[in-house]
């Protein structure tokens, strides 16, 4: 609890001033009174509220709770303040940034409770910001573990845990890689054999005594190349198979988890960023597993193999050659980060340009109708210039670094001829002396040595990228859904449809309740109309009834059982939804209607369409029920989409129907059809409708007027109109609306 972190001098100052009042709540802010980042403390005892600057025990505010007419945590842009109203003024006593907003709202609720003489509960206390056990840094609220100390090794091990089913293939990959490397190492040795043995003329006769070996050596080189190609091809193929299979498993795991997660998860994240995890991040893992690990495995093997051979051929020469190699590595480490920035800048500018083109082309009608072609051209020219300059900058750098790197590498080759040549002059008999063949083989090995060095310098970066992706993927796989079946959940295959809300409070963020202590009883088979301004809480209420969210306090019961105790599958099977935004999936009309019941027969689908008055327009379509609706149903009109959604709900045949009526205006005839379809749909079910149309309002057994998360009026249409309260006002203001007049007429 954060109270324990209160600096001793402040605690003492409070104790000295109010010896009889122990400190009940304390919280630290992150903005000081002068508007700069800093710490101040808000402390509440049973009777007083005090504010201290972080480094001083002199209170800047000291207020008796009984003097406060009002106490609020008021959020402004990016920050907030605890605001008090005393008889003389309204002012803020302590400020905080967005990051502390939730905590301050809790504490302010707690101080209000203190003021009323109530007890402080755990809802009011702020847990201390979690600190990392290893490094002591504060852990950001939205993270589960300290980002500084998260174990990279764990992420790696987890990726490989997905590879475990393929352990034998991986062992085979390793073996084949080694064979391929060994074959490659044979080639420079063969060139040594050619020079020192096969082509060596006899000093006296001038003939080639070992000429008979010529064909054999050629054959050996041929076989070495063939084996190397064969093995590396085989290895590539095997590791590709394992990589793709592993990534497939990871992708399946992440998508399964995404489908299981509750809506709260999707509220907090952009669809785009979730899509990025499924596509990009798993793609990154794929690059690691399919491309990179095999290559670096091979690099490592040849690095070791070649390194050993370099020493074997001549350790003296190797010591010299190490110099340019070290230089190359150093240069790489210096240059690569710089070049990366230039590449990055270049790509960033490019994506900005393509975003601009996309934006302008998709709005081309607006551009044309406002005659702003020149403006668009100017915008394009400016962005394009910046992109061009980034490209030129990049090429300039590259044209320096690239040759420089190449030159450093070639210095190694020069050294071989310089130092190696001197060793040749010593003669093969002298210690350290080399033959010409040795030097040639050595050059060959040296060139083979550079490739893995290059690869391995990129290793760190590649692994970082892949592990970042892995972390994000596992972050989702590890998330537990907020809404889960209780362990003792009841099976309710048949639901009557009696819904009871008892003192329900709910908000999407904790400190902003959208539904406030609402109590409502909906008998089975009755039709309830929810009426109210937008933002009053109607949609939230139906979200709660279909248990897309769980209530914060109070209870929501179906047939006398708390919804949290009902098996989700049973609840969902008995609830049907027709939403305001009719969402159709890409596919045919048949597929969209039978989405509610995948095993429905064709007759059932047609029957549902007939009672939804959708059949009549479907038969006029060229492809009938097989008509493709386009992306999100774009090839159908609004009224058609609505009727397909109604057919979908009819096919589902739910006990409880949730209807979020569309406000979009359709022509009178279509409107009538939809009303008839709705009448067919609602018959004999418990229906909760967010009603806009007068016709729907009249049909409801009971209308519930919601205002600011609370019920302000309730009754039949007739009763409410006679009462001349909020409802009749709403109707009057809507009456001016032409569609409603049309319906009435």
């Amino acid at each position: 609890m954060e109270r324990d972190k209160l600096p001793q001098p402040i605690a003492e100052a409070v104790a000295a001033r109010y010896p009889d009042e122990p400190i009940r709540l304390a919280i630290s802010s992150d903005i000081a009174h002068h508007g700069q980042y800093g710490t101040e403390w808000l402390v509440a005892t049973g009777g007083h509220l005090l504010v201290f600057p972080g480094d001083s025990a002199t209170a800047t505010h000291d207020l008796a709770l009984s003097d406060l007419e009002e106490l609020k945590a008021v959020d402004t842009v990016g920050a907030g303040a605890v605001t008090v109203r005393t008889p003389s003024a309204t002012y803020h006593v302590i400020s905080y940034t967005e990051a502390r907003s939730d905590d301050f709202h809790k504490v302010v609720d707690g101080i209000k409770a203190l003021k009323e003489g109530e007890a402080v509960t755990e809802h009011h206390t702020v847990s201390d910001r979690k600190r990392c056990e290893q490094c002591g840094r504060a852990i950001p609220e939205s993270m589960r573990a300290c980002p500084h100390c998260l174990k990279r090794r764990q992420a790696v091990l987890r990726i490989f845990s997905f590879s475990r089913p393929y352990i034998w293939q991986i062992a085979a990959i390793f073996l084949i890689s080694s064979l391929s490397t060994m074959a490659a190492l044979l080639v420079p040795y063969m060139s040594k054999l050619f020079i020192d043995f096969v082509f060596r003329p006899d000093a006296e006769s001038g003939t080639f005594p070992h000429g008979g070996w010529h064909l054999w050596c050629v054959a050996a080189i041929f076989v070495a190349y063939a084996l190397q190609s064969f093995f590396s091809g085989w290895q590539e193929r095997l590791s590709g198979v394992v990589g793709f299979k592993t990534v497939y498993d990871v992708r399946a795991a992440i998508y399964k988890r995404i489908q299981e997660l509750s809506l709260t998860f999707f509220d907090k994240r952009h669809t785009g960023s979730i899509m990025a995890r499924v596509n990009q991040d798993t793609g990154e893992l794929q690059r690691l597993l399919v491309d990179f690990i095999p290559i670096s495995l091979e690099s490592l093997l040849s690095l070791v193999g070649v390194g050993i051979l370099l020493f074997v051929v001549s350790w003296r020469l190797t010591l010299f050659v190490m110099l340019p190699i070290a230089g190359t590595i150093l240069l790489l480490r210096l240059i690569v980060p710089v070049v990366r920035v230039f590449f990055h800048r270049y790509f960033h500018r490019r994506s900005r340009l393509s975003a601009l083109v996309n934006d302008s082309l998709s709005g081309i009608r607006v551009v044309k109708s406002f005659g702003q072609e020149t403006l668009e051209m100017d915008k394009f020219r400016r962005t394009s210039q910046v992109y061009r300059d980034a490209g030129i900058d990049l090429v300039r750098r590259w044209s320096i670094y690239h040759p420089l790197m190449h030159f450093t590498i070639m210095c190694g080759a020069v050294l071989v001829w310089l130092v190696g040549g001197r060793l040749v002059f010593r003669g093969t008999e002298a210690p350290g002396g080399l033959s010409i063949g040795d030097v040639v083989a050595y050059s060959g090995y040296l060139m083979m040595f550079y490739r893995p060095v290059f690869m391995l310098t990129r290793l760190a970066q590649m692994i970082t990228n892949a592990l970042t992706a892995a972390d994000r993927v596992f972050d989702i796989i590890d998330t537990t859904p907020d809404i889960q079946d209780a362990p003792d959940a009841v099976a309710m295959p048949h639901i009557e449809g009696h819904i009871a809300l008892d003192n329900v409070t709910f908000g999407y963020t904790r400190h902003q309740p959208v539904i406030k202590e609402l109590t409502l009883d909906i008998p089975a088979n009755s039709m309830i109309g929810l009426v109210g301004k937008s933002g009053a809480g109607k949609s939230t209420l139906i979200n709660l009834m279909s248990r897309l969210y769980d209530v914060d306090s109070g209870a929501l019961q179906v047939d006398g059982v708390d919804v949290r105790q009902i098996r989700q599958a049973d609840l969902r099977r008995n609830i049907g939804v027709v939403l305001q935004e009719t969402f159709l999936f890409t596919g045919s009309i048949l597929q969209n209607i039978s989405y509610a019941k995948p095993d429905a027969t064709r007759e059932e689908v047609i029957a549902a369409a007939i009672s939804a008055h959708a059949h009549e327009f479907i038969i006029s379509k060229v492809d009938g029920y097989d008509t493709l609706v386009g992306e999100r149903g774009s090839r159908l009109s609004g009224g058609e989409k609505q009727r397909i959604a109604i057919a979908r709900a009819i096919l589902r045949n739910p006990r409880i129907l949730i209807l979020d009526e569309a406000t979009s205006s359709v022509d009178v005839e279509t409107e009538e059809k939809i009303q008839q379809a709705l009448a067919n749909l609602t018959r004999g079910r418990t229906t909760i409708a967010i009603a806009h149309r007068l016709a729907t309002l009249r049909n409801c057994d009971q209308l519930v007027v919601i205002e600011d998360g609370e019920i302000s009026e309730m009754g039949t249409h007739k009763e409410l109109m006679q009462k001349e309260g909020a409802f009749s006002k709403l109707v009057q203001s809507q009456e001016a609306h032409s569609t409603i007049i049309a319906v009435e007429g």
Binding site: Q36, A79, T90, Y91, E98, A276, P337, T468
Partner: protein
């Protein structure tokens, strides 16, 4: 649009810190709050003066130019603006460290030095064609750089390595 005549209005602050406004007709409003209408592109002009207690008609009027007020009056308004709109301007970047898909930024702002985490996603870093950079950290706090090309070369290098 109700433009306020800067010579006809008087801001004052109570002992406790409540901002009050007296209009030409002698009426006094308290508490009042000020909001910039163009906080990013034109912070010196068009300040909306509001009374939060009036839900129906919160805006009292618009002040066209902050500099038209006397220094004394201006201080009252800027103090309140600072409180109402907390969007620190990053003046220098000390370091950006990449940790597990998060970037840890250590920066100096006009509100003092601060360290925060930004997720490497596009929506947390917005760059406009005018080189304005808006950052949102993982706790939803925002920061801005009005023109990132004016940062020191080192800061710019760090930044451009991180841009999405």
């Amino acid at each position: 649009m109700n433009l306020l005549d800067p010579t006809q209005i008087t801001f004052s602050r109570s002992a406790e810190g409540e901002l009050r406004l007296r209009l030409a007709d002698g009426s006094v409003h308290a508490p009042v709050h000020c909001r910039r209408l163009f906080p990013l592109t034109d912070p010196g002009h068009y300040i909306s003066v509001q009374r939060p207690d009036d839900k129906e008609q919160p805006e009292i009027g618009i002040l066209k130019r902050l500099d038209d007020l006397s220094p004394d009056q201006r201080r009252h308004v800027t103090e309140d603006l600072q409180h109402q709109h907390f969007l620190p301007e990053i003046t220098d970047i000390v370091d950006i460290v990449s940790l597990h898909g998060l970037d840890e930024w250590s920066v100096v702002t006009d509100r003092g030095p601060i360290t925060f985490f930004v997720s490497g996603r596009k929506e947390s870093m917005v760059v406009t064609p005018e080189n304005l950079l808006l950052l949102t950290d993982i706790e939803k706090c925002r920061y801005r750089v009005t023109d990132y090309t004016t940062l020191t070369p080192r800061a710019r290098l760090l930044l451009e390595r991180t841009l999405p």
